[in-house]
Amino acid sequence: MSGVEKVSVRIRVNSEPREALVEPRTLLVEFLRENLNLTGTHIGCDTTYCGACTVLLNGRTVKSCTLFAPMADGGEITTVEGLSTNGALHPVQHAFAECHGLQCGYCTPGLLLSTVHLLNKNAKPTDKQIRKAIAGNTCRCTGYQNILKAIRMASDEMGKH
């Protein structure tokens, strides 16, 4: 089997250049967690359903369990570790904390990045637009009501600046 030749993957993660030599079948989420020790990105279902592994790739959300790491070569990635600045929470993180938009917290990193992506595209989303934007993120604790509240709050707060 000639298929085990490793490939070099270079990605800017949270504004820092990172590089590793990996097997091609390495999933992006494994690259982040195992090679870079960025364990904030979670593996939930591992079947492209739950969205716990959501990260931003070149500004757009993707499910990092459904990309091989070499596909992101040369790209720019934001994970949950890259949201805060100098220890201060991102407004979306702050809103989730304020509104109890989480309980166990497992789905939260993915939901935060889906929210950041939504508000970057649409600063004042309607409830319907919010529901559509997080349809790819499963939360088994909250029942989503406080997540909706948090996203509305984040939208309001970010709109003030």
Binding site: G3, E5, E23, T61, T66, H117, A135
Partner: protein, 300 residues
């Protein structure tokens, strides 16, 4: 989950990708957005020995609308089509693009990959069969243009040769008095639809149907053109009675299987209901009304 090991090759052009497919043999496969292939590989239902990544081929994601046509590069992502002005002009394309799986999958999945995968539950096949669609393919013998009807042969099977790739999808713009709708009923956002129905029809000034195509998704080995249902509308006034007859004929045309998404009977009932509503929406759009339609699931 880990896929079986494979060798990874990055093509800089479709010609190079075609050459690599030849060199690497029958067990090599093309990697586009990966949103179907990667889950299959992780579940070990697919086991390619080599992947040829075409995501780095420049210019392959363009969306253009030259005179009377829409042209989608094979790597145009569903999310880009969703917001394109080109697709906004043809509502059925927006219905389809805006509801495929979820935001994350739409950001990554491609129209060319979806058609080449030829999943009977795929959204693009059913949608594009209602329009004049051709698939522009590139192989060692050069280019060829294949009508979508001929491109899809069977479940997960197209006429593409092993060393041939999709370059572009070309859709002819329907006439002004034409309207369409794609309705897909699914259990939740990220999953495939249980049943889908696509309708595109053209009316004259008096609601007489001059032209119509009705296509059913998820209820056969490929998307099914319901020709008897079309005959119930063609040349006739589109009203409650003819719509009902078309919906009944569509139900007869469906060949559903019972599975985790629902029983065959349930799916037949869904076919009739979705076709009926899709015709209604298509008629209103043909008259120039703005109507929202698309994928439907609980909590949307």
């Amino acid at each position: 989950m880990y896929a079986y090991p494979f060798s990874y090759h990055r093509a800089k052009s479709l010609a190079e990708a075609s050459k690599l497919l030849q060199q690497l043999g029958d067990e090599s496969r093309v990697l586009a957005g990966g949103q179907s292939l990667i889950p299959l590989m992780k579940m070990r239902l697919a086991r390619p020995s080599a992947l040829i990544d075409i995501n780095f081929v420049p210019g392959l994601a363009d969306i253009q609308s030259p005179n009377g046509e829409l042209r989608f590069g094979a790597l145009a992502r569903h999310a880009d089509i969703e917001v394109s002005e080109a697709a906004a002009a043809i509502p059925i394309l927006n219905d389809c693009a805006a509801g495929i799986a979820d935001v994350q999958v739409r950001n990554q999945g491609t129209i060319g990959g979806s058609l080449a995968e030829a999943d009977p539950s795929g959204d693009w096949g059913a949608t594009l069969l209602t329009l004049e669609t051709s698939v522009q393919c590139t192989g060692p013998q050069g280019e060829r243009s294949i009508a979508l009807e001929e491109f899809i042969k069977d479940a997960y099977t197209t006429v593409l040769a092993h060393d041939e790739l999709v370059r572009e999808i070309i859709v002819k713009r329907p006439p002004k008095s034409s309207g369409g709708a794609y309705l897909a009923f699914k259990r939740s956002a990220p999953v495939y639809a249980t049943v889908s129905a696509a309708v595109q029809l053209t009316l004259d000034g008096k609601d007489i149907c001059k032209d119509v195509r009705i296509v059913l998704g998820c209820v056969g080995l490929t998307a099914i053109r319901a020709k008897q249902a079309e005959a119930e509308l063609h040349g006739k006034k589109v009203d409650g009675k003819t719509i009902q007859r078309a919906a009944e004929a569509a139900r007869e045309a469906a060949e559903p299987q019972s599975d985790m998404r629902g029983s065959a009977d349930y799916k037949r009932a869904l076919v009739a209901a979705l076709v009926k509503r899709a015709i209604g929406t298509a008629v209103r759009r043909a008259r120039g009304e703005r109507v929202e339609a698309g994928h439907e699931y609980v909590g949307r």
